[in-house]
Each structure stands twice: as structure tokens, then as C-alpha cells.
């Protein structure tokens, strides 16, 4: 997904919810945006791996520690928006 424009928040949110759901074998509807990655069931290594996958998927750069500093999907999206990595 190589675009000049950063992905929209909704696109990114849908991607990350589906990604996590597939990793932990849950329905996307069961993934709450305000729960921490850890509480959702993601191991810390899986969270780091996710940053690598999303870098490849969206052609952006994300520090590996960013999802630990912003440990929910919602706060992670906020951080990415603040850095203008999503619109």
C-alpha cells in the first residue's frame, strides 16, 4: 500500500484491528480500542512484530517502542496522527 498520502485513521484502524484479531484468533468485533495490547492478548514480541508489518504495509516508519508508550489501539492511533503518519 504505497501512497503519497498517509493512510486515513479509519483505514489504519481497520487494518490494525483485523491484524490483531488474526494474531490472537478473535473476531475483529471483540477487539476493544481502549484496551491495552497486552490485555487484548498480544505478547510484547507480537506488538513489535506488528510495527514491522505495518511499516511494510503502509510504507511508514514507526519506532518499535511507540506502541508501548501508547499501549492501546486508540492511543497508538492518536500518536500516529500526531506524527502525521495517518490523516
Amino acid at each position: 500500500m504505497l501512497n503519497d498520502q498517509p493512510p486515513s485513521r479509519s483505514v489504519f484502524q481497520e487494518w490494525i484491528v483485523n491484524y490483531i484479531a488474526s494474531v490472537i484468533d478473535l473476531e475483529p468485533e471483540a477487539i476493544a480500542l481502549d484496551r491495552t495490547f497486552h490485555d487484548i492478548g498480544m505478547d510484547s514480541a507480537e506488538v513489535v512484530i506488528m510495527t514491522g508489518v505495518l511499516e511494510e504495509e503502509f510504507a511508514i516508519e514507526v519506532r518499535a517502542e511507540l506502541p508501548f508508550e501508547h499501549p492501546t489501539i486508540a492511543s497508538f492511533l492518536d500518536a500516529l496522527a500526531e506524527k502525521k503518519l495517518i490523516s
Binding site: 491484524y19 494474531v23 484468533d25 505478547d43 514480541a45 507480537e46 513489535v48 512484530i49 506488528m50 510495527t51 514491522g52 508489518v53 511499516e55 511494510e56 504495509e57 518499535a64 517502542e65
Partner: protein, 301 residues
């Protein structure tokens, strides 16, 4: 090699600039250290992956184990995969255990446990637990100041090698839950025919520590048709502190390396890297096979 019977087990150990650590690792793999090991000959193939000062072997005098050293030229930073494949090509045993990191010494029941576990399934993929010597993982912030001297003191405190049964007391497991998420294993055992069927390590994975080559190897083995993951409990490999690529990188550095491995895997395999969540079978070195958990097969990417 004259007069020696063909080995039943081959151990391939990759090493780069480990003059301090390698002798301990090799010591831990010899028959005089490995209790409950099969009464069968085995061989240890050390592959020096281009150390600037070539590694040397101490003379061992244990007739049932043959130790060989081969050297590959190179800077050692490109990839460990060719070194491992070279060792794999030299291996003659039916069962082959591969050490991607020659700085990891074994617990004294490891080899026997892996040998017995391998007999439980014709296509067993045998994973062993990874530990770091020290009170925390060696790349963690709390380990600032920990050095080789501190490690020597720790090993002396349990009287290693005679006190090798106590290694876990002075070490920290990489995975707290031995049945939890598994990304890789330092000592991976499979039948040689299965290693060859899988084509060994993928040399396209490059970078510090070999990139994701070890992870990729393990995932491919677990995903191969009709293979059975068997996790060894009660034994493990123990990483000695040597400023290695991952353990010397610090916490952020280790996370960065994992992220880079994830990117590399995505590029080469075209799908996200997924750690193994299946429990598989559990083989305890003292209790034997623990009843295989139900629903132990899950997709792992």
C-alpha cells in the same frame, strides 16, 4: 575419523568471536557432562563464521564424541545461515541439533531429553528453552553493569560445571511460560532427513544475528506437513554474556532488531511473521511425555 563409528547425533554449533564462551558451550555438550545421554556416539561440528582471530578447539579426550572445527571466511556479519547450512551438510547423525549461537551452554540433561523426545514422533520438531545467565535478560535495562566477570562469579557460585544442574537458579528464561508464545529456539533438533527436506536455513535472511533466519527455520519446520512440535521442559540452553548482536543491544536495540526481522520476513515470505502459539507436545526431562494438550494445532503463519 578413522576407527570411529558413524555418529547417531550431530550437533552443529555456529560461533563468531567466542573464544571465552565457546569452550564452555562445547564442554556442556560432551558425554562427561551430559547425563542420561544415549549410549551412542555423537559428533559436534563447530562452524567458525569468519572470526577475525580464528577460533581454536581445546583438545578433548572423550572417545564417544568427535569434535570438529571448520572455518568459513567472511566478516561474520552477513548471515549465519550459510555457516549453519555448511555444518548441516557435514552432519552424519540421524538426529541433528543446531545451535545458532555458540555462546549458549546446555543443561546436563538436554541431549538425552532431545534424543528421547525425537523417538516419540517420526517428524518431531524439538524446541528447547532459551535462558540468559544472570538475574535478568541480558539486554534489559536492569542489567547495566553486568559483565563477563560478574557472570564468571555466578557460574562459580554453583560450582559449574559440576553444579550444572543449578544453571536455572542463576539464569532468567526468555519466556516465562514454557508453554507460551514461541518465536525461536537456540537449539533446534530434527531428524537430518527433515532438515534436508526443509532445505536448511534460508540464506536470503541476512543482517545482524542472521536476521529472521532462525525464526523462519522454526516456523517452516512447525508448518511443514505432519510435523509435531515437542517442547522440552526442565532443560535449556544458557546464554553467556559476550556483547552479542541481540543480547548486547539493550532493550530498545533488541526491539529494533525484532522489528527489522519482522520487515525482512514480510518482504521475503509475503506474509506477517507469526510466533508459534500452539503448545504442541511437552516432554519433561524427568517425567517424560506429558499428555499432549488438546487442540494443540493452530495456524502459525
Amino acid at each position: 575419523m578413522s576407527g570411529r563409528p558413524a555418529p547417531s547425533i550431530s550437533l552443529v554449533v555456529a560461533a563468531y568471536q567466542m573464544a571465552r564462551e565457546l569452550p564452555r558451550t562445547l564442554r556442556s555438550l560432551l558425554p562427561s557432562y551430559q547425563r542420561d545421554a544415549p549410549d551412542l556416539p555423537w559428533e559436534i561440528i563447530v562452524v567458525d563464521n569468519g572470526s577475525p582471530v580464528p577460533l581454536e578447539l581445546e583438545p578433548w579426550n572423550e572417545p564417544s564424541a568427535e569434535v570438529r572445527l571448520v572455518r568459513l571466511e567472511g566478516d561474520g556479519h552477513g548471515s549465519v545461515a550459510p555457516a549453519l547450512n555448511h555444518g548441516l551438510g557435514l552432519a552424519r547423525g540421524d538426529l541433528v541439533g543446531i545451535w545458532i549461537d555458540g555462546a549458549r551452554m546446555a543443561s546436563p540433561g538436554l541431549l538425552g531429553a532431545c534424543f528421547r523426545a525425537a523417538a516419540l514422533h517420526p517428524r518431531a520438531v524439538i524446541a528447547t528453552r532459551n535462558f540468559h545467565i544472570g538475574p535478568a535478560l541480558q539486554h534489559s535495562e536492569s542489567m547495566a553493569g553486568y559483565d563477563q566477570k560478574a557472570e564468571d562469579i555466578l557460574l562459580a557460585s554453583i560450582g559449574w560445571p559440576e553444579g550444572a544442574d543449578r544453571l536455572a537458579e542463576i539464569s532468567t528464561p526468555e519466556q516465562v511460560d514454557p508453554t507460551g508464545l514461541l518465536l525461536e529456539t537456540n537449539a533446534l533438533f530434527m531428524k537430518r532427513i527433515l532438515w534436508n527436506e526443509l532445505g536448511g536455513f534460508d540464506t536470503r535472511f541476512r543482517g545482524p544475528g542472521g536476521g529472521a533466519t532462525n525464526v523462519d527455520m522454526f516456523l517452516r519446520a512447525c508448518a511443514a506437513p505432519d510435523t509435531q512440535l515437542i517442547r522440552i521442559l526442565g532443560e535449556g540452553t544458557f546464554h553467556q554474556f559476550h556483547g552479542g548482536v541481540t543480547t548486547g543491544a539493550g532493550q530498545l536495540g533488541a526491539a529494533h532488531l525484532l522489528k527489522m526481522g519482522s520487515k525482512q520476513y514480510m518482504r521475503l515470505r509475503g506474509r506477517p511473521l507469526r510466533a508459534v502459539r500452539e503448545i504442541g507436545w511437552l516432554y519433561d526431562s524427568r517425567a517424560g511425555l506429558i499428555e499432549p494438550p488438546a487442540l494443540d494445532r493452530r495456524p502459525h503463519g
